[in-house]
Symmetry: C2
Subunit: 84 residues, 2 copies
């Protein structure tokens, strides 16, 4: 595996797991007023496009990372819609 | 340009611009209590890795998208540290 691949995988793990503390915080506090609705709507749109990109290129790390991010971002969006 | 490239560019634009409404909301409200500090610390670490990945591969769309995201995420992190 090349150095760039390793850095790419670390990058994917970090930008995916970053959403875990936000999801946890929103769930725990049952409040989401500080979270931007527009951000998560646009972001989920972007993640769906990255997922399509990964599928078209059969790039499994891109597919897996974006499925996980999609789940986390959708969870935060749902909390935002429920708790306002 | 291939279809996958076009989808990749759209994905990059969406996941980058998604942070604009969050940055604007945090700035306007002068409050960041609903934003997770851990999320932005981990996320910025990931973006720096994506930037390194882009530089290693001389992939300009990756470099440009991540410089913009880095600026927006750093701005949100700074607001979080200032306004708590």
């Amino acid at each position: 595996m090349q150095t760039s691949d390793i850095i790419g995988y670390i990058a994917a793990v970090l930008t995916t797991t970053a959403f875990v503390p936000q999801a946890w915080m929103t769930w725990r506090c049952k409040r989401a007023e500080g979270v931007s609705l527009s951000m998560y709507v646009i972001f989920i749109g972007g993640i769906l496009m990255w997922l399509t990109y990964g599928i078209l290129l059969s790039a499994w790390p891109v597919i897996i990372a974006n499925i996980v991010t999609l789940m986390l971002a959708s969870f935060i969006l749902a909390m935002k819609l429920i708790y306002k």
